[in-house]
Subunit: 348 residues, 4 copies
């Protein structure tokens, strides 16, 4: 079966999912829905992506000389599922106005409330919960990264007593020039826990997790400083083994490879020739991994622009029962050229 996909919203996330869908052999990108004619739409067309828009927006595109293939209605009748990558809260509106009335399936992003979907989703942590579901919510970039990290230990049977995570968020994406801060650290929010902790619990309900968050004037990646308290002593050796073997977790060595900042991680991806310089994996700083008795400390970089892309692909497979968990993860990663060396995929 080939799942026919429409993408609603063609911004930072939407355009990446579009490129990813086009690389899959069990999915077909029917088109993307876009509101504004701009360079992003023009580039999309140059890649063979079909643009659709709202009826009252067609004129704008024509005026700008950017071809649209049809209206949203034209697209909708030809797809099996909509991946909704609209701004926070718009997905819920779309569900009420469009998807539910028309009996359409949909995948939402983490900017929506958990209630929008039948399940919140992270491939590594709870793939099976999403099998056959009609509405799935792929959790946000920060929640995805935390869920993968915590999930890596849980699937190996580790018991976690408590997670404390401290998030240093990038202030804006590279393309967002109106957002700040400039020369400031913003409490994001001041209250504890930030929303990220409870959001991880939508994926892993049993976890005890506290998060704090600030925003800083960078566009590169989020940075997490994480403290995991296990139920009993652990060794650095076993921790390293698990992290090395888990898909979508990469280890970067600061001392031996001169990866001394988040920008070096992006530079690595640019040098490798990755599309847009994306890093869809958790970028763990190997030297930061430290164990004191039953406590683990580490830093990880989280590429907010792209980290949820593989999970959106996996969510489609779970929704349509195309593959089992590990088959889907392996397939997604291979086709997205993620790093898949080592024993990462032996867990099936």
């Amino acid at each position: 079966m080939t799942v026919k996909i429409g993408i609603m919203g063609y911004g930072t996330i939407g355009k990446r999912i579009a490129d990813a869908v086009m690389r899959m052999d069990d999915m077909e990108l029917i088109g993307v829905i876009k509101q504004t004619p701009d360079y992003e739409g023009e580039v999309a067309i140059s890649k063979g992506i079909k643009l659709y828009t709202y009826e009252d927006r067609v004129n704008k595109f024509e005026k700008a000389g950017i071809r649209v293939t049809g209206t949203i209605n034209d697209l909708i009748k030809n797809v099996d599922v909509i991946i909704d990558a609209t701004p926070d809260g718009v997905g819920a509106e779309n569900k009420a106005k469009i998807y539910e009335p028309l009996g359409l399936r949909a995948i939402f992003q983490g900017g929506e409330e958990a209630e929008v979907a039948d399940t919140s989703f992270n491939a590594l942590a709870n793939y099976d919960m999403a099998i056959g579901k009609r509405f799935i919510r792929v959790v946000s970039c920060n929640t995805t990264a935390l869920s993968r990290l915590i999930g890596a230990f849980l699937i190996h049977g580790y018991k976690i007593r408590k997670v404390r995570a401290y998030l240093v968020r990038r202030g804006a994406d590279p393309r967002e020039f109106k957002k700040g801060p400039i020369n400031d650290v913003v409490f994001n929010p001041a209250t504890v826990p930030s929303h990220h902790g409870p959001d991880v619990q939508t994926v892993i309900p049993t976890i005890d997790i506290i998060t704090m968050a600030v925003a800083v004037p960078t566009t590169m990646m989020h940075l997490h400083m994480v403290n995991i308290e296990f139920d009993g002593q652990v060794s650095k050796g076993e921790i390293m083994k698990i992290l090395e073997e888990t898909p979508r977790i990469l280890l970067f060595n600061s001392a031996s490879r001169k990866i001394e900042s988040l920008a070096q991680i992006i530079e690595w991806a640019r040098d490798l020739g990755r599309l847009r310089g994306d890093v869809m994996e958790n970028a763990l700083i190997e030297d930061s991994i430290t164990v004191f008795q039953n406590e683990l400390f580490l830093m990880q970089g989280v590429h907010q622009e792209s980290i949820v892309v593989p999970e959106n692909i996996d969510a489609v497979r779970a929704m349509f029962k195309l593959s089992s968990k590990w088959d889907s993860i392996r397939k997604t990663d291979l086709r997205l050229n993620l790093i898949t060396t080592g024993k990462n995929y032996n867990l099936a």
Copy 2:
């Protein structure tokens, strides 16, 4: 007794200590030693501060039209103590070359190794350890802030099981235009613990503390996210009471006073008319103070340019036995116009 003070190094810290010394009635600023003729020296003279320099630098000052009163030797014979505010590591060199051979007393900054001095110092945490000592090291901005916070609980008899602190450091001071990062988060260092944890132990040897640190592209303040695990349950009420009563700890309310970022804290100080917009107190974010059973979470802003200034003043008093701990703290704070409302100073 009036202690005669010379200041070695007139940068970010040195110039602030100079202004502070001039406000004290039990100290006299004899002069400051400066290497480079520049606007900072010119402004110093306009305030009545006498400049001294190395013999081979006198020419440079004359050429620039900035008056020097004498050479380093002229200054040294007229002072009781040198406060050394030179860059990291230079203090130790000065000790070996100048202070020790001449039998001079000296106060060093936190950029020096702890071994440079007879004791590392924080007024709230270990004032009495410094009484009568010949060489005292005032710990760095981050260590000062952590020592005050931890000290606040220890002096009330609380038992602390473990402190975990996550430091988001400003990349440079406002005047340092060559330092980065730009658009990056730097592991500072990647390894755990960062040097800050062990440094707190030079002041409070018994504390179990782990720290992690990154640097970001701001110049405003450092931001600490702190987790203190007490030995037994605590209530938010008692925690708040202690923090409100402790000198050099201020509470800023994000919700009711719209203090939503570090820049707002500096703006508050600028509006108040504080010299240079300095905030010499720990700036605790009141809304972040959260208690879960025996664990406290909070955020605090740390003004790296000025937070160690009052401790340098207190260190002089301890060295020369001018005052007892609480008398010195109270006197320093009053004369520096720090906030001294409430029951802050009832601990004497």
Copy 3:
């Protein structure tokens, strides 16, 4: 006569004008109108400033524990003039709704269209045009700086053929943490000329001026790179003499005083003890002043937070015919502790 002043809006500009008015002996600050209870209002009260607000906002202040003296109506009946420092466009609304119906005089800021007032104003360039006017608009920070610079030559009888100015604007004020850009240079606007050139012509209608502008991720100051083409050759000597003698123009020497960036200029003001570290003068970079035949090139820093403050004071004097041009400028500068050395004020 003492002019009774109310200030509408208590943000970056409003609070500075309030402090300035309080330093004048021919003006009295009756109060300021503020919409939101926050730390800025709390600090204002601590300085003895009376807060007024809209009737439906009184509750909010009471709830926050910040005292208001009365409502906007209470204030208005006791003032001779309102200085309106509200956000762009709100001044025009206030004029239509409040000032005109009540027959109140008002001074507006440069965010309003020129049509809001009887004249646009810069003290050096066109003080006499504002004498006795009922509505005066003090032009924006960038326009003020350009008008002073051009005015300095015009009042000495120089003929200017053309001005070309290139503005590198700060992205946000220090207190504005939501505005960007981060890591970007924004065309501000892309089209030529930017609005600044025409805006200078509201003050100096005869000048031929082209401007281009971009915004960058800083909060410190704007930076202008200016090219003035005179009608005939000029010498660097005569240019320097004029700039040295003109009030509200300061020369900073990069080579001899190590003023190598805009941050050094602010650092100089902080060190001097200026309130909030403000620089109300044009900050010319002396080393950049270069003459090729009939063309002058130079750089100037423009402190967007404070540069219009003295002009607001002068505008009051012009409106109420309190002083002649040079008397007002001299008086304002003396009371604001601006630099008034040299022959600056010999032009009266």
Copy 4:
């Protein structure tokens, strides 16, 4: 003939030239010389690039587990030319120590003094000057962009009276996390003209050009605001035609394509799938192109990381007389996937 190339220095520029050389069919990349084992070397190997290093550095690479093929001596005897992409000033040292004694040909970058080479080079402006030369210096990113822009008019026979260019430089490359400024605008230098004007004259000796430069806290691109005064009136139409037809000059429309900042230009390149998101062309802001009688004003973005890459390729061809000017430009651009639509290459 296939020219055998070695690259000395594998940083921002060196690694891009390496990738570009590998795409050419008349050149062969023998290897690159690298001093430090790091992630950049590891990625190079994964692309099939051979690493060479100094004899005393071999150990470091072995220890880090990064394979080196040989020492610098091994490389040198197998190449026809070295492209030297070492830091400023090192190229001249290498010439004296290595290239001249061994009779090697070399291409230098713009960080070297003009005297290092027989000619300074820009493909569009003076390709023929470099034919057969032994040492060629490809001018810096800013000079390359200005030379292309000026060259575009000169090759069409336009007479230029004067160029005034205002450079807003990025503070550091994305990978350079130690360089600033943070929250500052640095005079770069304060004096006028900056070195860029004279540097353009090393390529186009007859041009009258003045430049001013500042550095800002971004890593994206430089931004030039340029004013060209022609000898006689010009029309916007003819200017546009020339710019549209000139290779390595792209027009970006701010109004119709929502390219409102430099980050959007890089985002466009990322979306297109360009390696590292590079923009090797001058990025002209179409809406900024404005003509007043004989004067042209415009803005252009200059991608400092990559803009000199095509010129290095062309310099090889000129040195070895592989192609004529327009053949080389066309070939380079096609193989680097630069935009080559329109009549750009009709000038041959």
